[in-house]
Amino acid sequence: MTIPKSVQPTQHVAGESDVDDEPAASIDAAIQGALGRKLRESYEEVVREEVPDKFLRLLNDLKLAESGPADSADSKVGKG
C-alpha cells in the first residue's frame, strides 16, 4: 500500500529543526536592525551637512519681495 504524496505526513523532527529555526529568526531580526541603522546613518549624514547659504538667501529674497520696494531699503539682510 502506498500513501499518496500529498497526504504523507511531513517528516518533521521537532527537536533538531526547531533549534535551526530560532537562530534563523534572530539573524533575520539582526539583519533588519542593522539595515535600519544603516538607513538612518546614511540619511543623517545628509541632514547633518551644512545648509548652503543660497537657501537662506532665497528665503530672504522671498521676504523682501513681499515687503515691497519701499521696505527693502531698511530691511536687514538676514537675522545675523
Binding site: 539583519i31 542593522a34 539595515l35 538607513l39 545628509v46 541632514v47 551637512e49 537657501f55 532665497l58
Partner: protein, 185 residues
Amino acid sequence: MAAPDFEHDLVGAISHLRAFARSFANDPARADDLVQETLVKAWNSRDSFTPGTNFRAWLFTILRNVYFSQHRKLRREVDDPDEQYQNSLSVPPEQHGHLDLADFRTALGTLPSDQREALVLVGAEGFSYEEAAEICGCAVGTIKSRVNRARNRLVEILGDPELKSSHGTSGTHATDRLVKDAVRG
C-alpha cells in the same frame, strides 16, 4: 502660523528637505534645485498650512508634488535621468569587512522609487505609516507593503554580491557583513 515662526520652522526643515530630495534625485545639485522650488512654493502657500499639524509632513508633500510635476515634464523630453542613474547603480557592493554606507546607498538606489520613498519616510525620517501615507497620497496598507518589500529587497540585494548573476554560491557575504555590523552595534 505667524510669519516669523513659519520662517524659523522652514529654515529648520531645510536640512531634512535636502535629505529627502536626495532619495528622489541622486544628483545633489538636482536635489537642491528641488528643495529651492519647494521653499518658494511653501513660502507662497504658507496660509494653507494648518497650525498644529505636522509641518515637515506638509513640506515633504510639497516637495513630492514639485518633483513629480517636474519629472513628468522631464520624462516627455528626455530619457529619464533617474532611471539611468538607477541602472548605473547595478554594481556589486565592495567586499569589505563590513557593509559601508556606499554599499548600502548602492543597494538603496536600486530599489523601485516608491519603495525607497516609503522606506526613507518611515525608516529614516521616522514618520508613522499614517503620516507617510498622507504624504504619498496613498493607503496606509500600501505604505506598509512598500516598506516591507523594500526591506526584503535590500536583504536580497545585499545578500547577492553578484546582483545580476543568477547563481551566487557566496550569496550571503553582504548579509554576513550586516550581521557583523549588528553584533558590533
